[in-house]
């Protein structure tokens, strides 16, 4: 239709005037007088281009040319010439895989962007749970400082084929002479790898495989073997437990791989279904902090308390000793008996006899919580075997040692002797990801692939088989263990083929490999309940009592939440993760009770810049001396000290990461309880880096509401969750109902809320690291954390109770003025502990928004308080006006700055950055964005697929990382979203609702089961 229309530009054109035609053929209406200018040679010569003009032209052109030659910085971005099939730029790929580094085992999902893994999240469909270390492991992949890059012999690089043939020759020589060789690995829990190893041993019968856990659970393994016949660990179904009694077992920490998920599943106050948890321990652990009742107890007293508990439960009278807490033990026994098969006792004592007694109590209770149908494979180490290997190395009887991802020269108490003995070995090979102390001491050093570059399978618990698949090409010239061993055994199949074949014959048996790889897990039913043999408890108890010699001071070594056994000590995210209890980052320290600190003269003064200092102590145990700073720890049992393993690594680490002291030399006989400790104060002041210095809530209990299970079930809501009230027209009304401002219109679109259940939150810190990873949160280092400049968008506040909890109580005691304040500000000697994750509350009436002069922070239509970094001029007024103090300022440039030599100052380390989130520059404010890049991606995906966003489809990094389900994110405008109901829950409250900020983060009252009966 349109084509038939004709347009003309003028009447002349319409009438067809000849002028138009002539003109249309001529580009220039008038003649260009070229001849006039160039034709006359004389005028041309006479024309005045003077020397000055010439120079001007030259000058200008030179300047212009050189300016044009200046280039901007070259950005190394290489576009795909041919698009790979499985990569769409800007779209993340997720792979199900499994982490198993000998200490942490987890079914995970890995997010990759343009071929780079950038985030680790729990594979919840495979019942996966991640702790802080698993979350942070993706950064260890890019650790160009510590990772081995080339095969080496005595420090010089060689090729893999050279290494293979030279090591092969030596192995064959040793085989001929039947000289013993040990393959020392951590717990592998990998069916196919075990087969590979057995084939290797078949090829070299002189090789023995010894499993070495840096932090041992041998006691539990041996006790279980003695009673049930297989050397493994049981699983504990804490979700069905009614009464849990733990004697020194930090099961919310690293004890037997951690049990926080099932523990929290059994603590749902709504249904009144909440276990009662009693913890006997000496250090203040995460588990003790979460317990309903925590009893501080010296390590050796824990042993006696365990026996007394056995006596009290069974009515027997085996040998024991009195402890100061026998009343509490009896009470615990009564509750256990009442709970019957729903009761359970766990102990962290690494002693066969102690573990036997715990198993015996569970047997006496006929505990169903102790599940022998599913066994737990995360620890397999055998202390006796390891001790034999050490002895053989020292005596020179061992001819060859091949280590795989263990670092005995750091983790063994006898590391020095072993190091000296290594020279006597004919063959020493380190198969290692890291260039650690052991790797540097061995002759051959072969770089291993990180688990994110590897194939593999893991059976974390019996009946479940998880797959590990590579998410990136190996960054360095590395191989994986299985490939190396296959090659040495003369098998030329690559391990991935081997694995596939192994799975199809031994595991899948007809099921789909692709499906298993997609899911990351394959489960089989195995339900043979193991029956317990009768073991003489009296015998075990008397052995225990004889072996235990209490002393005035005892040491309880433990693993910290951040570093665990210390494998990832070069990971800045973990170093910067504050300990959930002490809130100190970048350090380990001797924890000490108030009473002992007073007696020995230790203190932790707060300096004028807000930082905490400490005194040094010299700790001697069985002739080993170390000097470490002292942190006074409320709840620490008198006469006991705590000290975290995993710190003090030096070999290969960046200077900034060489923090703390190595406690492994004190870990003799793999016993984390050491008696006969002496301590003395030595000179010097240690500078701690704590992210929180005020320890109590100072009477402001409406910030973190707590209630007992009884209250929640039986009492009216206003008794235990009363909203803040205000006076309006002389009537008491709910403070939140009074407002000066017009409300945002929330009817249309999404309205995001985050619910945080303080009952379910154990304080583990996985969300903190997840937030680091997802949002490119910078690491600032010890000095900056110390002076209160950590950049965490999400932090977990920890509050201890005080002896005097409120002003009213203090007044009743006759306190006033400064004494009153001191009373509510000072933590109790054995306090209860509460955790509160705190991030931007995304207030609907945000105080930060009104004060920014340039409107850099403003309110989103979806409830988020948004921060426009590039508009921010950095007045910091918003941070000052934020009652939650969650805004973080970029005091310096944290990327590409040698002063902050962490992952953002390193080409490899930068590969972990999330391309969806900008890296902030100096001088701007930043804070939690409620992962707006994730919510927008969800919306766009739904839009592209032409559907509505599904219920509970929205997520943030923290809510995804949370294993216990304490954090629930979603859209309250969608009534099907869980968060919509949680917002209206009777336990729901807002922090500081009295000031009318109307946050979009809602907390659920913390509930403890304080029922003593």
């Amino acid at each position: 239709m349109a084509s038939s229309k004709k347009y003309w530009q003028s009447v002349e054109e319409l009438t067809g005037s000849s002028v138009v035609e002539t003109l249309s053929k001529k580009e220039f209406v008038e003649e260009i007088p070229t001849d006039e200018f160039l034709g006359d040679k004389e005028t041309l010569e006479a024309s005045g281009t003077s020397r000055r003009d010439f120079l001007k032209y030259v000058g200008f052109t030179t300047a212009a040319a050189s300016l044009a030659a200046c280039e901007g910085p070259v950005r190394k971005s290489i576009p795909y010439l041919i698009k790979p099939d499985d990569i769409t730029v800007g779209v993340a790929d997720w792979y199900a895989t499994t982490m198993a580094d000998g200490y942490d085992f987890a079914n995970i999902l890995v997010k990759t962007r343009e071929g780079r893994p950038i985030l680790v999240m729990p594979n919840k469909e495979a019942n996966g749970a991640t702790n802080a270390r698993v979350q942070a492991s993706v950064l260890s992949l890019y650790d160009s400082q510590l990772r081995l890059k080339e095969p080496q012999v005595k420090g010089t690089a060689i090729s893999w084929s050279d290494a293979d043939s030279r090591i092969g020759d030596t192995l064959n020589e040793l085989k001929k002479t039947k000289a013993p060789v040990v393959l020392l690995t951590g717990t592998l829990a990998s069916p196919s790898t075990e087969k590979v190893i057995s084939e290797f041993i078949a090829a070299y019968p002189n090789v023995k495989h010894v499993v070495y856990d840096a932090v041992s659970e041998t006691g539990a393994l041996d006790a279980f073997e003695a009673m049930y016949g297989t050397r493994t660990l049981p699983t504990y179904r804490l979700d069905i437990a009614k009464v849990i009694v733990s004697v020194g077992a930090d099961f919310l920490g690293d004890w037997q791989g951690g049990y926080e998920k099932s523990y929290v599943a059994g603590r749902k106050p709504e249904a009144g279904k909440m276990s009662r948890h009693i913890q006997f321990e000496s250090n203040m652990t995460l588990t003790g902090a979460n317990a309903d009742k925590r009893v501080g107890l010296k390590p050796t007293d824990q042993i006696f308390a365990l026996i007394n508990l056995y006596n009290a439960v069974t009515g027997e009278n085996v040998t024991s000793k009195e402890t100061p807490v026998d009343a509490a033990v009896k009470q615990a026994a009564t509750q256990l008996k009442k709970a019957g098969s729903k009761g359970v006792v766990v102990t962290g004592l690494n002693d066969k006899n102690a573990q036997t007694i715990a198993l015996a109590i569970n047997n006496a209770l006929q505990s169903k919580v102790l599940d022998t149908t599913v066994t737990n494979n995360v620890r397999k180490g055998n202390d006796a075997d390891v001790a034999q290997v050490v002895a053989d190395i020292v005596s020179g009887e061992l001819a060859g040692l091949i280590t795989y991802n263990v670092n005995p020269l750091y983790t063994l108490a006898a590391a020095k002797e072993v190091q000296a003995g290594l020279e006597k070995l004919k063959l020493s090979v380190a198969l290692s990801v890291q260039n650690d102390a052991t790797a540097t001491a061995m002759n051959y050093v072969l770089p291993m692939s990180h688990y994110l570059e590897s194939w593999g399978d893991v059976s974390i618990t019996s009946g479940s088989y998880s797959l590990t698949q590579p998410t990136i090409q190996p960054l360095f010239n590395s191989r994986q263990l299985q490939d190396v061993l296959l090659k040495w055994s003369g098998n030329n199949t690559s391990y991935d083929d081997y694995l596939k074949a192994f799975w199809s014959t031994s595991i899948l048996k007809g099921a789909s490999w692709n499906q298993a790889l997609h899911d990351g897990i394959f489960t089989k039913k195995t339900a043979n309940k193991l029956s317990a043999k009768t073991i003489s408890v009296a015998d075990a108890a008397s052995k225990l009592v004889t072996a235990t010699t209490p002393s005035d001071y005892e040491l309880n070594l433990f693993t910290s939440i951040a570093l665990g056994d210390g494998q990832q000590a070069n990971n800045p995210w973990l170093q910067e993760l504050p300990d959930p209890i002490t809130r100190a980052a970048w350090d380990n320290y001797i924890t000490m009770s108030f009473a002992d600190a007073r007696a020995l003269g230790f203190s932790n003064p707060i300096k004028d810049n807000g930082a905490v200092d400490g005194d040094y102590a010299k700790l001697s145990v069985n002739g080993v001396e170390i000097v470490a700073p002292v942190m006074i720890q409320p709840g620490q049992a008198k006469g006991s000290f705590g000290l975290a393993l995993g710190y003090g690594r030096t070999q290969g680490l960046k200077d900034a990461m060489q923090v703390g002291v190595n406690a492994y030399p004190l870990y003799s006989n793999a016993n984390h309880i050491q008696t006969g400790v002496s301590i003395e104060k030595v000179s010097g002041t240690h500078q701690f880096a704590c992210t929180q210095v005020q320890k109590t809530i100072a009477g402001r209990h409406e910030i973190l509401k707590q209630a007992s299970l009884d209250q929640v079930v039986n009492a009216p809501v206003h008794d235990w969750n009363k909203p803040a009230m205000a006076s309006l027209n002389h009537k008491e009304v709910v403070a939140n109902s009074v407002d000066l401002w017009e409300a945002h219109n929330r009817e249309v679109g999404h309205h995001f809320n985050l619910s945080i259940d303080l009952t379910s939150c154990t304080g583990c810190g996985a969300c903190v690291v997840a937030c680091h990873a997802e949002n490119n949160v910078p690491v600032v280092g010890k000095r900056e954390v110390r002076t209160g400049r950590d950049m965490h968008w999400l932090r977990i506040d920890r509050y201890y109770s005080s002896e005097v909890e409120t002003r009213e109580e203090a007044k009743a005691l006759g306190l006033s003025g400064g004494d009153l304040y001191k009373a509510i500000e000072t933590e109790a000697e054995n306090p209860t502990v509460a955790f509160q994750p705190m991030m931007c509350q995304h207030c609907n009436k945000a105080p930060c928004e009104t004060v920014c002069p340039v409107a850099a922070t403003s309110h989103g239509r979806q409830g988020q308080n948004q921060m426009a970094y590039n508009r921010c001029v950095g007045t910091r007024y918003c941070a000052n006006n934020c009652p939650y103090r969650v805004r973080r300022f970029n005091w310096f440039n944290y990327s590409n700055n040698n002063e902050f030599d962490f992952n953002m100052n390193d080409d490899y380390g930068k590969m972990v950055l999330n391309p969806d989130v900008v890296v902030r520059s100096r001088g701007v404010m930043e804070k939690c964005s409620m992962c707006i890049q994730m919510t927008q991606a969800t919306i766009l995906t739904a839009k592209k697929e032409g559907r509505k966003v599904k219920a509970n489809e929205f997520a943030t990094a923290c809510s995804t990382a949370c294993s216990t389900g304490a954090m629930v994110f979603g859209d309250v405008n969608n009534s099907e979203d869980t968060v919509a109901q949680l917002k209206e829950d009777k336990r729901a409250f807002h922090v500081l609702d009295a000031i009318g900020t109307k946050p979009n983060v809602v907390y659920q009252v913390k509930v403890k089961n304080t029922n003593e009966a």
Partner: protein, 465 residues
């Protein structure tokens, strides 16, 4: 107006047997003569301090605000303390020259020029801080509501910081114009006396061609009156708005309705103290004892004790309210039991000592009329007023709503350096001013010579006999 009647019992404002010419000579002397050694010593010290401060500023801008002692919980400390302190100091000038003009206070004539110079120089210092305290000062112009190509970006009119921008810039411009207007006849006087051609040229330019005609004088008087009318509300508005930086926030201790009047009183209090400090030195150095007399000092001390009284009542009110609310969040405001017993007790008690206790000495006439005592007390008040702002900012921020965020602040050498630098900068400007500007509004002083000059008073007293 010059023949305005004045009661004989009033003390003279101009001492000595001064004639009109004597006044001219006295006031032109520092400009026409050579600077003495003391001036040079003072100038070089000030210059060194200023350069040091500039160095610290460049270091801050080049490296980041992290060079200061601030942290995640305390986002302002010395920066805004210094800002408010300098703005407060700036208040006396306008009050003296504008409000006292409207109230026909003749004694202001001897001090208004220097007071207003002080104002302008102090506002310069004050204005530095909001700029350098920004994380990205190079984008500081974004706080100006100007058409731009960044998209539909506009400033946030809800923000008190934006109000500050308007308040301070208005104040600075009005003060500057008012000051300059007053300077015109005096510059002309210097111009007419100048013998060196360069000097003559400069002062000709500065005096805007003042000819001394009756019409000039008429317009001068009118403009002065109009500007005084304009400047008077500014005396109240500037510090009101500065106080709103705190009062409109939600921090306990900041969120307080009495802040505007209390801040204005505090500003005048500190401004007069600073005038007292400066004049105490200047009258000696420039031999102007006959013009800045005991009576001037006493009058200013009376203003100080009045405004100091207002401030003390405000403190008491704040303390009472913090207690009376019985809110645990108000326990730790800068005026509370928590502050008096907490880690910042030293700052709290410094404030009480310097700002409440010391000014009480001025109730004694002897002290009030003593140059040395006034000088010492004025220094104390300057310190006290600095502590007031430091307490308001640092103590309040150190104890926020959530106890987990309680922290402390310690200045770094950069914080201190910048503060010292502004003091140096201020004195550099003031010392240069004292050598090049007529430091007393001689034209105005001459108008009261016959009514308030000692010689004329004596003459009149004699006649009465």
């Amino acid at each position: 107006m010059s023949s305005h009647y004045e009661a004989p019992i009033r003390e003279p404002l101009i001492l000595g047997e001064k004639s009109y010419h004597d006044i001219t000579v006295d006031i032109a002397k520092p400009i026409e003569g050579k600077a003495n050694k003391n001036w040079y010593i003072a100038f070089y010290i000030a210059l060194a301090a200023m350069l040091w401060g500039f160095g610290c500023i460049f270091y801050t801008i080049g490296t980041g605000i992290g060079t200061w002692g601030l942290n995640k919980n305390i986002g302002w400390a010395w920066d805004i303390t210094n800002f408010v302190w300098w703005v407060g100091i700036g208040h006396a000038g306008t009050l003296i020259s504008a409000v006292l003009l409207l109230f026909r206070q003749k004694w202001r004539m001897a001090i208004n020029r220097s007071a207003e110079a002080m104002t302008i120089f102090a506002v310069f210092q004050a204005g530095l801080f909001p700029i350098i305290h920004m994380g990205r000062p190079w984008n500081g112009y974004w706080v100006l509501p100007m058409p731009n190509q960044f998209g539909s970006l506009w400033v946030n009119f809800n923000s008190p910081l934006l109000w500050d921008v308007f308040a301070i810039s208005t104040y600075l411009s009005v003060s500057l114009i008012f000051w300059w207007t007053g300077l015109l006849p005096d510059f002309a006087m210097i111009r007419d006396r100048a013998v060196k051609p360069f000097q003559k040229k400069i002062y000709s330019l500065l005096s805007f061609g003042w000819s001394g005609r009756a019409k000039d004088w008429q317009r001068f008087e009118e403009v002065s009156l109009v500007l005084a009318g304009l400047a008077t509300p500014l005396v109240l508005s500037v510090h009101t708005i500065v106080s709103m930086d705190f009062a409109t926030s939600i921090n306990p201790g900041w969120h307080s309705t009495i802040f505007p009047p209390y801040f204005v009183a505090g500003a005048i209090f500190s401004g007069f103290a600073m005038v007292q400090t400066l004049l105490g030195i200047m009258r000696k150095v420039t031999n102007l004892e006959n013009y800045i007399t005991r009576l001037h000092i006493e009058y200013m001390n009376i203003v100080i004790i009045l405004t100091g009284g207002i401030v003390a009542v405000a403190y008491a009110t704040e303390f009472f309210i913090a207690w009376y609310t019985a809110s645990p969040y108000e326990n730790y405001t800068y005026l509370s039991v928590g502050a008096a017993t907490g880690p910042y007790a030293w700052a709290f008690w410094s404030l009480i000592f310097f700002n409440i206790l010391t000014p009480q000495l001025l109730w004694f006439r002897k002290i009030r009329r003593s140059f040395i005592w006034s000088f010492i007390i004025s220094i104390f008040i300057n310190i006290g007023m600095w502590f007031e702002r430091f307490d308001i900012i640092a103590i309040v921020l150190s104890k926020g709503h959530l106890p987990s965020t309680w922290w402390r602040f310690e200045p770094t050498f950069v914080d201190v350096g910048i503060f010292i630098g502004t003091i140096g900068f201020f004195f550099v400007l003031f010392l240069l001013y004292a050598r090049t500007f007529p430091v007393i509004a001689q034209a105005e002083v001459k108008t009261i010579l016959k009514s308030s000059g000692e010689s004329y008073k004596k003459l009149r007293d004699g006649n009465h006999e």
